[in-house]
Every structure is written in structure tokens, then in C-alpha cells.
């Protein structure tokens, strides 16, 4: 497994050899760390899904994603990740069939998304909050044991800080000029 992942986020980690990841959406559950590789909530239908995908791709042992818990209203992140795995992306990065507010994948490539879709089977327990049912689903995944998907996949470069060649006299932004008297104007204005 890649040393750089998982991406920082609101999740807990269990056995990295486990084939199961669990997305609990708006709910908080704890799972047996010997049975689940990574679990946690997922709020947004764009950045949240990107983080989940990047983390899952970094660990090829993960072959199942259980999507459970109460849906995030408005964002519809649960419905959106199910749609992503089912339908993939449109050319402009929009997730096909998502009902979420701004369902775009922009920080990982289309290739990475395809690999993500191929790597995992999704277990649809959207709006299911019964811990017993969720645990049952995890057990069924463990029984299937699909094996590793191969090498870890680097979906993004972690160090993506932009080199910004601004001069020291840009107080706020390269397009703005602020006079010593506090007047804000465009750079091209005299």
C-alpha cells in the first residue's frame, strides 16, 4: 500500500488487508478494525468522493465499498457515489446520474475514476442505519474475498502546492493593487 495515503479526512483505519471500506454518510458508526480497512462519514458529492476514491485506490486490497447511513440532504453524496460507480463521468467531470448539488470530479483523472469503478463493488445500503444489517453486509463481503486488485494506484500527487511567482508588493492578489492609502484597484489602472 502507498505510504502517502490515506488522504487526511474524517475516518478511522482498521486492517489494511481487509477488502471492505464503509461510508457512513451522515451517521457515525464504529466497526471491528480487524474486519474493515477504513470507515467514516462522507459529506460532499465532489471533494468527499474524491478523497474516498483516492484512499481506496491507494489500497488495492479494498474491493468492496458499503454505502450506508442517512443520506446527506442536498449534497446527496450517497446517491452520487452509487451513481459514479454505476455510470462513471461525463466528459466535463460531471458524475452521470447524480442528483447532488455540484457533482463534479476534478482533482483525480478519468483513468483513476475508471480504475476505482473497476476495483470496487458497491453495496447499496443507502439510508440503512441498522448496525446489524451493516455488519451483515460486511460479513458477506469478507466471505467473497476477491483478492488484491494489484498495485496501489496513485490517483493524485499529494504535493500539489502551486508555485506562485507573485512579487512582494501584491498585498492580496495579483489582479489587485492597493495603494498605501487603502484604495483597491485593478493592476492595469494607474
Amino acid at each position: 500500500m502507498s505510504k502517502l495515503y490515506p488522504w487526511p479526512g474524517n475516518y478511522k483505519r482498521g486492517d489494511p488487508e481487509s477488502p471492505v471500506a464503509v461510508i457512513t454518510l451522515s451517521d457515525k458508526f464504529d466497526f471491528d478494525p480487524e474486519k474493515v480497512a477504513i470507515w467514516g462519514p462522507m459529506k460532499t458529492e465532489n471533494l468527499g468522493i474524491e478523497k474516498v476514491a483516492a484512499n481506496v485506490l491507494s489500497n488495492p486490497n479494498i474491493r468492496f465499498i458499503v454505502v450506508c447511513g442517512k443520506e446527506i440532504r442536498g449534497h446527496r453524496s450517497g446517491q452520487t457515489i452509487l451513481a459514479l460507480i454505476e455510470n462513471g463521468l461525463e466528459e466535463n467531470g460531471r458524475i452521470k446520474g447524480s442528483k447532488g448539488a455540484v457533482p463534479y470530479i476534478e482533482n483525480i483523472s478519468h483513468d483513476a475514476v475508471e480504475r476505482f469503478r473497476n476495483q470496487v463493488d458497491v453495496i447499496d445500503l443507502l439510508d440503512v442505519t441498522s448496525k446489524e444489517k451493516i455488519d451483515d453486509a460486511i460479513e458477506r463481503c469478507l466471505e467473497k474475498d476477491l483478492g488484491s486488485f494489484g498495485e496501489p494506484y496513485m490517483a493524485v500527487k499529494i504535493d500539489k502546492k502551486e508555485e506562485t511567482a507573485f512579487e512582494a508588493d501584491f498585498a492580496l492578489h495579483s489582479s489587485l493593487k492597493i495603494s498605501p492609502w487603502g484604495k483597491i484597484s485593478s493592476m492595469e489602472e494607474k
Binding site: R73, G74, G100, Y104, E106, K183, I184
Partner: protein
């Protein structure tokens, strides 16, 4: 503390002035009702909401901070009663916050049928807008809209400007052109709060850039960024500290010229409005003393 060379437009939202040079008009504060889990018992929702709106109005009068009510609508089933509630209990303009495109389209249809489009700020027109929704907006045009500068492809300040200006690489045209083509009069620009770790600071930086670029009322809802702070979840005295941070983070964009703030749940009006009155007083005093800015009459600088 700043003044803009670019002319700044001021909109009159049925008596509430928003926009302009810093220090002229107090900051418009928008409090939201019907957040998820705001009320546990649906039967109590409307009753409680009436009290909260009354409280926001009272604090608005007390502090000279203008306010609007923002109403969350998640599902189509909620449209009719929530719009009816707004028309019954809110004077003037109100904001309708509808994350889903399908819901927004139904709302437009409903508002058109009952003749209430001139009462509404459409929150929001964003990257998620579909062709079908634009057609609906052309047919049933709300008086105002929040234009959300969220750009997942490029979330620095320039990317946020692009979404408003020309759509960047994700849209064929910018949200401002779309809004104008639809005939929306009041275009409020939202710099789109992002979580910590996702260029949250650009939400603030974008405020003066938007105002300089477009000359339109600009604001944001940075309380969403506070909610993303994982460290705070573990903090021992979280509830009390969270409330304080939730309110004080709004001071940052306003210092740079933000004209409106979506401050989150309306329950926080008791802290958010006095806080903003204090910030507006400082800004108005600085603008008046230094730039000779003419502060409006109904302003905490004069009344408090």
C-alpha cells in the same frame, strides 16, 4: 478600511440596501431556517420558525443590521408549505436555499404560478445548473439570485472568478451572463466557502477580487468552513467555542468589503448581529474618517 476604485452597485431589496463602498451600508445578514435537524418535531417547525424570525427582526431593529431569512428546501414535497409559510410570515424579500436542481425547477414553476417570483432570492445559481433549469429560469425569473463561485476544477480565486465571468473550462458561459440573460435583477456574488485544506483562505481573498472585477454585492457563508474543522470536533468545550468561531469568522470577509453574509442557522442571530454591528461600526468609522465616506442613516455607526 478599504475603498474601491471600481464603481460598486447597490441593490435595493425592497428597502434593504446591499452593496457599495465599505462603510456606506451595514452588512446584510442572512439567517437560515429549516436546516436539517433544526427541529426534531415537524409539527413544531413552523411555530418555532415564526419565533426565530421574530427574534431576528427584533435584533435587526436593535442593531441596525439588515437581515433576510433564508429557507432551506430539500425535497419537492416541502415546496408548497415552505413557500406558503414564507409568504405568510416574511415581509419583503426572502431567500430560498435549494441544493438540488430538480427542486429548484419545481420551485420556479410554483413561484410563477402563485406570482411570487419578485419576492425571491434564488440560492443558488451554480455550476450544477442544467440546460433544463436555465429554460425554467428564463420562463419564471426570480428577482434575485446568489451566484456561487464554486469551481472544483480550479478552486483558487481566479477559478472562482472564472465561474462567474466566463464559466472557466466547466461551463460554456459565466454565471453572471446566464443570470443577466435570464433577466435576474439582483445578482449577489458568493465567493463559495471551501473547507480547511481546500483553499479556504481563497474564499476571503476572492471578496476584494470579485468586488474589483464585477462591482457587485459580494459575500459568502464562511460558517461552513468552521464546520469542516475536524480539530474542533474533539474540543472539550466545543459547543460554546464553536458558536463563537462560527460568528467571528464572518468578520474576515467583511473587513475586506463583503456586503452580505449567510451566517448559518437563524438561532445564531443573538450573537451574529451584535458582532456584525460592532464590525460595521469600526469599518464605517474608519471609512468616514479616512475616505470621507458618507455613512447611511440607518447604520449602527449612527444608531448605536
Amino acid at each position: 478600511m478599504f475603498s474601491y476604485t471600481q464603481e460598486q452597485r447597490i441593490f435595493d431589496l425592497k428597502g434593504i440596501k446591499v452593496g457599495g463602498q465599505p462603510g456606506v451600508h451595514p452588512t446584510l445578514m442572512v439567517g437560515t431556517i429549516f436546516y436539517e435537524d433544526q427541529f426534531k418535531d415537524p409539527k413544531e417547525e413552523q411555530k418555532k420558525a415564526v419565533e426565530l424570525i421574530r427574534e431576528q427582526n427584533k435584533l435587526s431593529q436593535m442593531t441596525s443590521i439588515p437581515t433576510l431569512v433564508d429557507i432551506f428546501i430539500y425535497e419537492k414535497e416541502e415546496i408548497q408549505w415552505k413557500v406558503e409559510f414564507a409568504l405568510d410570515h416574511i415581509d419583503g424579500i426572502f431567500s430560498l436555499d435549494m441544493p438540488e436542481s430538480e427542486v429548484r425547477m419545481e420551485v420556479l414553476k410554483h413561484l410563477g404560478e402563485i406570482g411570487a417570483l419578485d419576492r425571491v432570492i434564488y440560492n443558488s445559481l451554480n455550476l450544477g445548473v442544467k440546460e433544463e433549469e436555465i429554460e425554467k429560469l428564463e420562463k419564471n425569473t426570480p428577482k434575485g439570485a446568489v451566484l456561487l463561485g464554486y469551481n472544483p476544477q480550479k478552486n483558487n480565486t481566479q477559478g472562482r472568478v472564472d465561474i462567474i465571468k466566463d464559466g472557466g473550462v466547466l461551463m460554456d458561459e459565466g454565471l453572471l451572463t446566464l443570470a443577466r440573460e435570464c433577466g435576474i435583477d439582483y445578482t449577489l456574488l458568493d465567493t463559495a466557502a471551501t473547507p480547511f485544506g481546500e483553499k479556504a483562505g481563497e474564499t476571503v481573498r476572492a471578496v476584494p477580487v470579485f468586488k474589483n472585477e464585477f462591482g457587485l454585492p459580494t459575500g459568502c457563508s464562511l460558517h461552513n468552513t468552521v464546520e469542516s474543522w475536524k480539530w474542533l470536533d474533539e474540543y472539550e468545550d466545543r459547543e460554546r467555542v464553536f458558536k463563537s468561531l462560527d460568528v467571528s469568522i464572518d468578520n474576515l470577509p467583511v473587513l475586506l468589503g463583503a456586503d452580505f453574509i449567510y451566517y448559518g442557522p437563524i438561532e445564531n442571530a443573538d450573537l451574529a448581529l451584535p458582532n456584525m454591528a460592532m464590525v460595521d461600526k469600526i469599518i464605517a468609522e474608519g471609512a468616514e474618517d479616512y475616505f470621507g465616506t458618507k455613512v447611511s442613516d440607518n447604520h449602527p455607526h449612527k444608531s448605536l
